[in-house]
């Protein structure tokens, strides 16, 4: 039987079991991709179903518009969401993203899709409370569709080609939106090179979010707050400390307001955290994660015999991606940091989102 061809079932109960039996899903249930649902979504898009978006590694199977739509239907996407999924796939297929490595590595990282711009409100993405959690169909379904594309088209099957030692829950669905309403700064996609007033999706392969309580709601200086964030970025076991690469800082609205009121813009935050997020050689030389001969290793630019020398987790200020999301929170002023995958891949890529005109 050709696994790429349609199947026929007698009823929806049988459809669910067949989808599991055929390995069309990674464990979570999925919407049966009936011809009616798929064709309705294709009609909405108005694109040639056989148009090729790209070849998705590691299996390098062909992502046609139709195959992507089938996975979107299974994920519960409204047809309006599908351009966001397609833009995310296009971004992930950029060479610097190294999707082949991301799909196969023993590391835990997974592609995170960050939606920003007017599309957030237009399609109902959640950028506020519980931004990494549940509650929004758009976040859940778009993230889920991306994962199913990586599974069914890319062939990144857990325990087979995907050798992640732990993985993380974001490997089921991993999509957030930027909270531009509560951000004192420009959007993430502008930092990535798109016009500020456009909509975009930025993909970044990262670990699960690590929560940071800074006490931003109390009487603190911006430097106090950034010192706490810096310590959370520069953890000894992180990919960044050992091998550089990018880190995503998701600043909560309360912290963002505090930093902005103290005169900080995003570039100043990057530069200050570049200086603050450091660990001494005496600590880091006990970590043999990377050999000092490796091109990513900090020994390339720090004297490994100087115990007091400080190693920056952020090799350059620009290695820090900064965005605002989440709810207002309590006086703790919550934020989140997501570490990337050194310089090995998953480096942030952006694509504009062109919604289908009704």
């Amino acid at each position: 039987m050709d696994p790429t061809k349609s199947i026929h079932v007698d009823n929806l109960e049988e459809a669910h079991e067949e989808m599991y039996r055929l390995g069309w899903t990674d464990g979570l249930p999925a919407i049966p991709p009936t011809a009616k649902l798929v064709n309705a979504a294709l009609d909405f898009l108005g694109r040639d179903p056989q148009e090729v978006i790209g070849e998705v590694p590691p299996k390098n199977r062909i992502a046609t518009v139709e195959k992507v739509v089938v996975n979107c239907v299974m994920a519960g996407c409204l047809p309006e969401y599908i351009p966001v999924v397609i833009a995310s796939i296009e971004a992930m297929l950029h060479n610097e993203f190294n999707l082949n490595g991301i799909q196969a590595t023993t590391n835990c990282i997974s592609p995170l899709a960050i939606v920003s711009g007017p599309v957030v409100e237009q399609l109902g993405f959640n950028a506020g409370d519980n931004v990494f959690g549940g509650g929004s169909r758009a976040n859940a379904a778009v993230g889920r569709a991306i994962r199913l594309v990586l599974w069914n088209i890319g062939g990144g099957y857990a325990g087979e080609i995907d050798r992640a030692t732990f993985g993380h829950p974001g490997k089921y669905t991993f999509c957030i939106a930027e909270n531009s309403q509560d951000s004192p700064w420009g959007p993430l996609h502008e930092d990535m090179g798109l016009p500020a007033d456009s909509s975009g999706v930025t993909v970044f392969a990262c670990e699960s979010p690590h929560h940071i309580a800074t006490g931003s709601g109390y009487i603190l200086t911006a430097t106090d707050i950034l010192s706490v964030i810096a310590d959370s970025i520069a953890t000894a076991g992180s990919a960044a400390m050992n091998g550089g690469g990018q880190v995503l800082l998701v600043i909560g609205p309360m912290t963002a307001e505090k930093l902005a009121n103290d005169g900080y813009d995003k570039q100043q935050i990057r530069e200050e955290l570049h200086q603050l997020a450091r660990k001494p050689v005496r600590l880091m030389k006990s970590n043999k994660f990377l050999n000092p001969e490796h091109p990513f290793h900090w020994a390339n630019f720090i004297d490994q015999n100087d115990d007091d020398a400080m190693i920056p987790a952020l090799r350059t200020p620009e290695d820090l991606l900064v965005m605002v999301a989440g709810g207002w929170g309590s006086g703790s002023g919550f934020n989140a940091v997501c570490h990337g995958w050194m310089q090995a891949g998953g480096l942030a890529q952006v694509r504009p989102i062109d919604l289908v005109k009704a």
């Binding site: 079932v9 989808m19 049966p32 011809a35 299974m74 890319g154 050798r163 050999n291 001969e293 490796h294």
Partner: protein
């Protein structure tokens, strides 16, 4: 009873993926094995090496185990292997 048609989400193979070159003829040739030193795959490398020696009967082999999965082989190691007919590089972690 009418049946329900479900579209498959599985992508078709790329023509590139099926165009894998056949393994070259190795009989009588000199083969290098350049393997990473990760503890989880050392038994696999050993079995692979034995299988290739048995099946292809190379005239000579040389094996290099790198000290670290992530470290590239040194230039001197690469130069030492420059006279082989085929170098088989194991890169998994």
């Amino acid at each position: 009873m009418p049946q329900i048609e479900l579209y498959s989400p599985v992508g078709e193979e790329s023509p590139r993926a099926t165009g894998i070159a056949p393994f070259p003829e190795l009989g009588g040739s000199k083969i290098a094995f350049l393997f990473n030193g990760h503890v989880s795959v050392l038994p696999f490398w050993k079995n692979l090496e034995e299988e290739i020696k048995t099946r292809f009967e190379p005239s000579d082999t040389v094996t290099v185990i790198k000290p670290n999965t992530f470290s590239p082989a040194s230039l001197s190691t690469i130069e030492d292997l420059s006279d082989v007919d085929l170098a088989l590089v194991g890169v998994c972690a």
